[in-house]
Symmetry: C2
């Protein structure tokens, strides 16, 4: 910038002339500048939200990709070590068990030492946050590093520990979104808005799912189903956009890294698409759904029981309270010993990684037909399935053994206090159920089910798809796993039987067990609002006045120092209702606890010595800003409506007024109690 000298106009003119002479084509330049201004305006008009979401998607995709890369390197190192030690069994055993033990212990110790919130999947807590409850520090950025490092180590243990990436990644993604959101508000100086924050969290969840599976559409749907009971279509659009950016970037990085020639599905399958399944097979798919539903119920029940047992048992509770890494080491030692390949591991294909498990189970060949030709087939070519083959047990034996053992091993693994996801193991488990049933059907009907016409043999891989979707769907109470399985494999031919299996499995599990995430919420005793089932028509007959809290600590407009002090002592609410006067308790508004404290500090106690220069008299109505009330219930509102309002508007507490007068308040605690009484009447 040139400042004209204060000397005179001549100087100024000279500068202007020289400026003009230095830059040719003033007209063109002016136009160009106008053009750029217009582009800038247009770009700003789009709303910075979209840039924010784009950035979030790309960031998380990069993190996911780099994490995958590091994990595969760490895993390769383990495999190399295991092969290098030669044929001495003891050394083999030590190298097989020590490596994951060290990694898991480091994961536990490191993440727990930084923050205790970084363990587990994080989805149950996110679900609670989305209902409007504030869980302090859960989205703090300090967790981020702890969780990234911890998760990488957990996953590098591979299929020994048999854990996944999805839940923690969703948590990571929301942490990143919360942090970026804070940065944004500090830059734009806009006042931070709770609605917008929520929108971004929802989008971030979708990004989390999408960048793990490279599946944008089911990413959005899965995060919606699992997280919330109501949602806005505009959130869905945001999630969609962010998830697409994330998934695209994630697949793009795979191309840049020369893993793939072009963008394709993560677990690409090569099923025959002309005749994916015969109509009569639908029946078997429904049976598969029912089996998955029943196993899902058993799994959920046992998992919840185990989680509670570990917390209650004196020994484990003490270990978990003080020496988490030791608990982890002991559990991982047990898991690793069982999966030791020369031992029991050979019966459960334990040399495969998580990804190889899935790829092998989604194989489009029928293993039962391949087995007799094993000797002819070269060991190297596409031989993933051969890991499943054992001379004395056949593939049926190994699959069944895998299912039996992994059932309790997986439940044990979910008690480990390290950052880990529980979706992927469930997904693989379901695929194994499906593969077993599929192989059995293929064995029973070697010619396929079609009576006339061309021969269409049965594809056990299709059953594996359906099994994965049905079991993971039943455990998480979601239906979009049907789409997830299609997007992840790039195969749509089986979509209808898969959806049917998922629906059957869900019908069974939703009836009898809370979902995996709800179960964890119940065990962890987080604030939770149970749903009202449509069968409970009684919820229309129960009125708010029957269950509301009548003893509400309220202040009057004319209250002074002493009353405020008493009120602050009497309850620990964040907000206090203010009424007109004690005689006519018409609700006027609310006042925050912080404001009351300020009021106390700026006024003096009536009995205090006179030298302090503070106002003696002074009432709330005069000296404090009273926040107006937006919404109030009447005592005759039904339980059903109150529940609906709490769910839809993410309320924490709402006051009940009769003809304007405060008569009570309803919080989630009262609502939960009322619903529980309705469900289990005394």
């Amino acid at each position: 910038m040139e400042h004209p000298a204060p000397g005179g106009l001549q100087e100024e003119e000279r500068v202007l002339v020289s400026e003009q002479s230095w830059r040719p084509c003033p007209e063109a330049r002016r136009r160009l500048r106008g053009c750029l201004e217009w582009v800038k305006r247009q770009l700003f008009r789009v709303g910075e939200d979209w840039y924010f979401l784009f950035f979030l998607g790309v960031l998380m995709a990069n993190i996911s990709f780099v994490m995958d890369l590091v994990i595969s390197r760490l895993y390769e190192a383990h495999r190399w070590l295991y092969q290098e030690v030669g044929d001495i069994l003891v050394l083999k055993y030590l190298s097989w068990t020590m490596y994951p033990m060290a990694l898991a212990a480091f994961s536990t110790g490191f993440s727990q030492s930084i923050t205790p919130h970084s363990g587990g999947s994080g989805i149950p807590e996110l679900k609670i946050i989305l209902t409007g409850v504030v869980l302090e520090d859960y989205l703090a950025i300090q967790n981020f590093g702890a969780k990234v490092v911890g998760l990488t180590c957990t996953l590098a243990c591979g299929s020994t520990v048999f854990l996944g990436k999805l839940g923690p990644f969703v948590h990571l993604s929301t942490m990143a979104a919360a942090y970026l959101g804070k940065m944004r508000t500090s830059v734009t100086k806009e006042y931070e808005n709770k609605f917008k924050q929520n929108e971004m969290l929802v989008a971030a969840q979708a990004v989390g799912v999408a960048t793990v599976f490279g599946a944008p559409i089911s990413g959005v749907l899965f995060s919606i189903e699992v997280m919330s009971s109501h949602f806005a279509v505009r959130d869905y659009w945001r999630g969609f956009f962010a998830a697409t950016c994330g998934a695209f970037m994630f697949r793009l990085l795979a191309v840049f890294n020369s893993e793939q020639e072009t963008i394709a599905a993560v677990f690409k399958s090569d099923f025959e698409i002309d005749f994916p399944f015969d109509l009569l097979e639908t029946f078997f798919f429904m049976i598969l759904g029912a089996i998955c539903g029943l196993v899902g119920c058993a799994y959920l029940f046992c998992q919840r029981w185990m989680l509670a047992a570990v917390r209650e048992n004196r020994l484990t509770a003490k270990l978990l309270a003080t020496d988490k890494p030791i608990y982890t080491v002991l559990a991982v030692l047990l898991l690793a010993s069982i999966t030791f390949p020369p031992g029991l591991g050979q019966l459960m294909a334990s040399r495969l990684t998580m990804k190889e498990y899935l790829t092998s189970l989604f194989d489009n060949r029928t293993w039962g037909l391949l087995v007799p030709n094993t000797s002819q087939v070269a060991a190297g070519a596409g031989g993933l399935w051969q890991e499943w083959w054992h001379p004395s047990a056949t593939i049926f034996g190994t699959l069944a053994f895998f299912l039996v053992m992994k059932f309790w091993m997986l439940i044990l693994a979910t008690t480990l206090p390290l950052p880990a996801g529980y979706f992927m193991p469930i997904f693989i488990y379901g695929a194994a159920i499906g593969r077993l049933l599929g192989e059995a059907v293929a064995l029973l009907f070697p010619q396929g089910l079609h009576a006339e016409g061309a021969l269409h043999p049965i594809l056990p891989g299709g059953y594996a798809l359906a099994g994965a979707a049905a079991f993971s769907g039943s455990v998480t109470h979601s239906i979009s796993t049907a789409l997830l399985v299609c997007e992840a494999t790039g195969h749509l031919g089986h979509v209808l039987p898969v959806v049917l299996a998922v629906l059957v499995a869900n019908a069974i599990t939703q009836k009898h067990q809370p979902s995996f995430y709800d179960g964890t919420i119940i065990v962890k005793k987080l604030p939770y609002l149970p749903p009202i089932r449509s069968r409970h028509v009684g919820s229309y007959q129960v009125a708010v006045e029957e269950f509301m809290e009548r003893r509400v600590v309220a202040l009057a407009k004319g209250d002074g120092f002493e009353e405020v002090l008493m009120a602050l002592d009497a309850s620990a609410d964040a907000e206090y209702p203010v009424v007109e006067s004690k005689e006519s308790p018409v609700l006027v508004g609310t006042i925050s606890r912080a404001q009351l404290v300020t009021f106390l500090q700026s006024h003096k106690h009536p009995q205090a010595p006179m030298e302090e220069k503070l106002a003696t008299v002074g009432t709330l109505g005069d000296d404090c800003a009273i926040e107006p009330i937006m919404l109030q219930l009447s005592p005759w509102t039904s339980l059903h409506q109150a529940h609906h309002l709490f769910e839809m508007l993410k309320l924490q507490r709402i006051f009940v007024t009769r003809f304007g007068e405060l008569v009570g308040a309803v919080t989630r605690v009262e609502l939960r109690r009322a619903i529980e009484e309705l469900t289990n009447p005394k």
Copy 2:
């Protein structure tokens, strides 16, 4: 049933003994009966909702299938007629134009004579109904027959009139659900519940989409996106279940009818799945998205203008008011004359049906490469694309001519007062845009874009997929068309570029134009609540007291005959607020208009002659049941929050109270005005 004779105990015993001797194994029978009882209880425990949804899905699938069958027969008849008349041009012309004219005229006349609501698509009105507005008779079962017959005739006109099936089918499905719901409540004697009704309507919409495209997942998503701004996950599950039943049944019927060997996608494609597209092609897909978005804007603008112009123009308005069939006949004559195959029709492949249009555009071959070999290729084999080939115009000419002509022809067709859907034509139009761009790209890069390695030619069919999804998505403001296109073709390989194109197209159109359905709502002047864009942070600063209606006709508890009469005269509301007294207007509750009328009938006018035996004195508070108020706003609630509440809770009117006293009311009218003032400040 045997009634024991009243004679004595002996007779009774005899009967009992004979009963026992006649039926063996009493123990086994008792157990069996217990078992059956248990099964019955279990079945009832599931909730009759699911049976209801299952039945709805199967019913609509059957109707959809039978309708398709009848339409194809009618269309075959037309084709046969056209071929049988020989080479005489006049006869050919007459047979080409008369048949659709007659059908369209019948469709218009028949449906309009039964009910005026049966015209058009029905989706805009459903959208309004779902926001809680009661549109009388719109879901009445009388419409059903009119719409089924009318729609069949419309669709039998084929590609001449170029209309679709989706919208009316969604309407049909909701009508069926509403009727079945009424039947159910009359059987079970349960009190009809508005929430449940809404749930069923949402599920019914999903069924409508699913049974047309055989696409359960995108059916649910599309109906959600188009219809509502908020929704519950439990509705989504219901929709999913019903849509799956519907889609499954629909595809099953095709197998039973031997159209297909097994269940497969409706418009099954056979794209190469190993290398669907090159990474660099993403750029072209985004350009395609931008083009679709821009054309979508132009289309929406012109369509809205045309709809308004037809209503305002003196001639057409008169025709539409009194002689709807004549308007239809004239418009169809124009459309049919232009598509006459020996005339202009040969330049726009007008001999194809709607389905053949789509199948040909989604062809996996590159037409530009096929053209030179035309003479060699036998005319019959897979020659749908040859319809697009014209010796003097090449395929580029015909595609461009098709796009230019169909642009205004489609807009003209949307003004026809007959039952018809507008989604399918938009879908085909988009596919044509995509095919044109795809063929152009294939011409520019005959070797594909990949510099090194294997040769991967460009697949113009993939562009057609993306174009169909992007254009239909941009016109309807929805993203799930990306999934719809995948489900309808059974091909997932292109999902990422398709999603990208859809997002780009949506970004452009949502910025500049209301969606097709919102546009129709605006033109038809239906009650409509515009969305608040996130940019309008001002909506947080506007308080309810700035825009609420202050003059509310209220009654006091002590009011008698005269005041009630005056109130009924003063406004036509369905509900009147009741306050404590005129002096202290504390809101007590509401009272319905019907109750007030009853009150008037049972009380007598103070000046009335004395002989009538009715109570003279009597106040509202004593003689009427006053409904309590569930929810009230305060004057300081922000516009944003009020809008949120109206959208979430589907409110129609809400009262505003200050310290319990009634000070005003807010309806959708006030809200709309406030939002419009915010958007276009004076």
